[in-house]
């Protein structure tokens, strides 16, 4: 239903209600539609007046909806009035009303009330990120940076991931301030981005840049740039961190893969202890490999071709020179069938090592194990994103490590479009040589950023960078 444009009198509201199909929810639906259409609050007021006159009371949900309308339009005086009404009317409120009041009041000169409301919310539950966002922004707006950071740390301690808006606000409000403590806090935020592999968006990046350049006596200068494939920054010619894991990280990841992905809750779910042991001895005896291929995945690259031919092309392409190749497959590939010709399989086995798992076992787990066991130089070939295996890892830190390792070591086969008609040539997608994460050397900062706020798949990394260096 379309809300009216002007305030109506009681009788007029009554008439509208009678024409509405379910009169008992008329007010609710009407207020919802007012929120959607952003109607003037006077219209809503006239409706509430009508309700108050006919019922002598206004239900809580209607009040909250009216409050939402006021907050949406930034009617601070009205929000304060609503706060008074709610306070005397109800002993406690629920989360929706609290967050609306916090959002509304934090924009007024009564912003301290918002803080006290936040305290009240904390008593009954963990406040939402947006509640914190309103309070932090309010504190920042009134130059109470220490309070803002206190709230920020409180969020982190409650395992709430601060929104990018909060982080951006902290940079914005600290602009031009000369305070060593504050600087340390903001560097802390940048390290938080690094640790959690968060990439700022363009406007946030601009806030960071402006803040750096505004530090009195800091002499910081920022430039936007693209990093070369070699990992060198064209502006300051600094070499970015490489994407290799440290020894400790690498060992940690390998252990977790064996523990969480291969064994999990029950080794029998993905393989069997005998089979895994057999695979382990097989790998130990032939180490190290340079490339591990997921045979079944690669064999499906071209649907029109026989599966073993696809695999044959891949093995031929990769097993040149001294490259040691391991192909993982399942036992059914050995039975001579229309898709798996015995002669071709035989020929392939001369060029590469093969391991055939049971038909009901998961070969991906073996793929990960063999690659990790071979060492840091070893890469693996599959089009699979391996998301389900990543999901088996129990903590987010290891998942990040896995993603980073995957970025550096997975080769995704794609067919060259030009040569598609003639040959099935595999092109290796260059695995990233540098690590795409916020990084610093003290005198320089390199911050990758996204062009647009949303448009990025989680497996993609941004190619644009902000380079900040200190001119001494």
């Amino acid at each position: 239903i379309q809300p009216p444009e002007k305030p109506l009198k009681s009788e007029e509201w009554n008439r509208l209600r009678e024409n509405f199909q379910s009169p008992e929810v008329f007010e609710e639906v009407m207020l919802n539609s007012m929120i959607k259409n952003n109607s003037p609050i006077d219209v809503a007021k006239s409706l509430l007046t009508q309700v108050a006159q006919s019922n002598g009371d206004i239900a809580y949900n209607l009040l909250v909806k009216y409050l939402a309308l006021c907050v949406q339009q930034g009617q601070t005086a009205e929000i304060q009035d609503m706060y008074d009404i709610m306070k005397i009317r109800f002993k406690t409120l629920e989360s929706g009303a609290y967050s609306l009041l916090i959002k509304g009041l934090s924009n007024s000169d009564q912003w301290k009330i918002a803080l006290s409301l936040l305290e009240e919310v904390k008593k009954i539950m963990i406040p939402s990120r947006t509640c914190y966002e309103s309070c932090i922004k309010a504190a920042g707006r009134h130059q109470e940076m220490s309070l803002a950071f206190e709230l920020y740390h409180e969020m982190l301690s409650k395992d709430l991931m601060p929104t990018l808006d909060i982080l951006k606000a902290l940079f914005d409000f600290s602009r031009g301030m000369k305070d060593a403590e504050l600087q340390k806090e903001l560097f802390g935020i940048l390290l938080h981005l690094r640790e959690n592999q968060i990439y700022p968006h363009k406007t946030f990046m601009r806030s960071i840049k402006l803040w750096f350049e505004s530090i009195p006596g800091g002499n910081w200068r920022g430039h936007l740039t693209n990093i070369k494939d070699s990992g060198q920054c064209p502006v300051c010619s600094h070499q970015l961190e490489d994407s290799d894991l440290t020894e400790e990280e690498y060992n940690n990841l390998r252990e977790r893969i064996i523990k969480d992905v291969i064994h999990g809750t029950d080794t029998f779910r993905k393989t069997s202890p005998q089979e895994f042991e057999a695979f382990q001895t097989f790998v130990e005896n032939r180490l190290p490999f340079d490339i591990v291929i997921d045979g079944l995945n690669v064999s499906h690259i071209k649907l029109k071709k026989m599966q073993c031919e696809n695999l044959f092309d891949a093995v031929n392409y990769l097993a040149k020179g001294n490259t040691r190749v391991l192909v993982l497959g399942r036992k059914h590939m050995l039975s001579n069938s229309s898709n798996w010709r015995r002669e071709i399989m035989k020929e392939m086995q001369n060029k590469a090592d093969f391991f055939f798992a049971e038909n009901i076992s998961e070969d991906d787990a073996f793929l990960l194990y063999a690659t990790l066991q071979s060492g840091k130089h070893c890469k693996f070939v599959t089009r699979d994103f391996l998301r389900d295996h990543k999901a088996c890892l129990t903590d987010s830190l290891t998942r990040h490590l896995f993603r980073k390792w995957q970025r550096g070591h997975q080769i995704v086969n794609i067919l060259c479009k030009a040569e598609k008609m003639f040959l099935s040539v595999l092109t290796q997608q260059p695995a990233f040589r540098y690590d795409c994460v916020v990084q610093t050397t003290g005198d320089t900062w390199h911050i990758p950023y996204k062009d647009i706020f949303e448009e990025k798949y989680s497996y993609q990394v941004p190619r644009k960078w902000l380079c900040i260096q200190r001119k001494l």
């Binding site: 006239s46 006159q53 002598g56 009371d57 008074d84 539950m125 009901i360 798949y457």
Partner: protein, 415 residues
Amino acid sequence: MQSANVLLKKIIRCSVLPFAAQHGMNKDLFPLSRTLSLSVCLKQDNSCSPSEKIDLDAWKKVMKSGLQEEVSETVSEPKELSALAAAREILEMWRLAGRSVPENMSDEQLKTFMECPSKSAKKKYLKYLYLKELHKKNDKKKMEEKRERKLATQEQASETDKTKNTSFVCLWASSMDRAYSWRAAQSMVFGQPLVFDMSYENDMSVREVANAVRQLVLSESSNRRSVDPFHIHFCNLKDDSLYRKEFVKHYREAWDKLLITVTDQCYTEIFPKDKLIYLTADSPKVMKTFDHDKVYIIGSMVDKSIKTGVSLARAKRLGLETAALPLEKYLLWNSGAKNLTLDQMMHILLTLKDTGDWKKALEFVPKRKYCGFVSRPVHELKKTLNLINTLKLGKTQQEVQKQFAKNYSKKLTQK
């Protein structure tokens, strides 16, 4: 009279109270001035011409004024509240805000609510309770209507004919029960065993266990009512398990009198290994015929979070043969997981045992999960399925696939 009073109070509340306050009127004086103020109010009403502005803040006065009494009530209450009472209060506010919150909650439920690890878990639990309450209410309403209708028809019936001449005493329910029990007892001696594996408690949440037991109760009852029942074995059922607790909740005293075998032993200890076949949807082998000499095992597991391969892993560990129902072969599968509920499995196995007819047996697969029985070659049916999808989605299957492939390769090149 009372309603007239309420109306009066309302009118006074909204228009007179501010007036009274302005003139320094005491609240105690109020009853005396009632008649007077009403006339004032009426007069105001008359003077209000249609062109005059509407008082937009009148409702605020109402909201603020109606409060004095209520506030004094709340103040007298003890300030410090227990955690439970506080939670109750929040729930009440949520309910007022129109969220799906049950009206009544026991202390036990409230505790479970507070122990939920996250906000979304809390929300889900509340919604579950809310829906349960709603269903209960609706059922009650329906039952009452039914009873009334029944009473009405009975009255009519008693008026029309007095007595019927029958040679049987009307004792249907109990005599049927006796017959069923007799059959079940026979099956305990001569019947083909059917094993329910009760070793999945650690893989399930409390609610999943409750659901599993409910399905088992249904299975048991349909088995009892069948012409040639199975001899049901509940294996790996520990005495202190949640399963058992739930069973006792359902069956009460009847639990000990059930004509089934309950044991904490594993099926491998009771039956020879080569006779056992573990039924699991993940099995690579597809069941062709029902074998009357084998012992089929069904895992008593409800997995809402789709834990693939759990029961297959169990069979692999014990080195048992596995089998899956030939759903793909006989049904044109549409959507939904291939794992069926325990009572559906029971129905299917009972029908197979009696008739050996797959078509009849697979009638018990929920209709929403498949489009039809495979009577023509599968590719022909796939065509009709595509047609259905085209009509439904406005897109052909191939287009969808092409779109998917395109997106997929795009993603890869972008990487």
